[in-house]
Subunit: 140 residues, 2 copies
DNA sequence: GTTCCTGCAAAAGCTTTGCAGAAGA
DNA sequence: TCTTCTGCAAAGCTTTTGCAGGAAC
């Protein structure tokens, strides 16, 4: 039976990415934490396990992963790139009160626009903003 | 018959915003140019008409307008906030080759997600990325 | 006369880049 | 051994902030 890291290692290899301790740990973190973290959050969350991990390594790693289609980049807000390992079609909801980002299922195939005929679509994003259930009930 | 600027002036007043030469010109520019400009583009496009216009005025003005729901902010890419005067529901397509942003009609009412029941949705965004028709045909 | 806006400069914040040494294959 | 990754520091860019003078009402 393979360990989780052997699997992740294979994933990197399949994408043509060299393996390293840092890369495996960052990928593992993203696979286990579907919380749409920013680069900064990842850095701080991993400081215990990887005390010497640097910002630039995190940024370079995340960019390699995005380029290899291993991660998806979320640009819901300016100056706050978030990353997720979930590559299936889905939408995002960001709560303006608590900042939490929620996933929700959505079928992207329902979109058909005559205006986009002849266009090559590589990436589809949908995000909503508002107030989440939990913040709404805290107000009452 | 009112001039266009008198109308824009009324719009500002209705939103509780003080009128000024700069604000009217910036709003006029956005109303006439549905090209989803960035703050920087607006600044440069207006240099002829308003030679002393400053970056900070542009940023502050745009932020006031967004807060007053007079403009919509697009965050398709990080570090590149674009603005538009069109507040009707529609989607955006950004061409990865030429950088152009296209609007397309979309009915946001078709989205129904059980996962968002009990959530208060204030803002809906949808954007696609890919290659536009014009860039595709230039390749052949 | 007040209030709020403008514009200059400086600061802030996130992301990228350059480079020397280290790690991986 | 050769390539590529890591991590430090510095640079780059967009956006925000502070403040004095000026415009709007």
């Amino acid at each position: 039976m393979k360990s989780a890291n052997e699997n992740l290692s294979d994933i990197l290899a399949n994408k043509g990415l060299k393996s390293s301790h840092q890369r495996l740990k960052i990928l593992e973190y993203l696979a286990n934490n579907p919380c749409h973290p920013t680069a900064d959050k990842i850095l701080h969350e991993m400081k215990n396990e990887l005390p010497t991990l640097s910002k630039s390594t995190v940024y370079k790693t995340l960019n390699s992963f995005v380029e290899a289609n291993l991660l998806r980049e979320l640009t819901i807000e300016d100056r706050e790139i978030r990353y997720e390992y979930n590559l299936e079609d889905h939408g995002h909801f960001k709560c303006e009160e608590c900042g939490e980002v929620y996933d929700f299922k959505i079928n992207f195939d329902i979109f058909h626009s005559k205006e986009l005929e002849g266009f090559k679509v590589n990436d589809k994003n949908i995000y909503f903003k508002g107030v989440c259930k939990s913040c709404l009930s805290n107000k009452n």
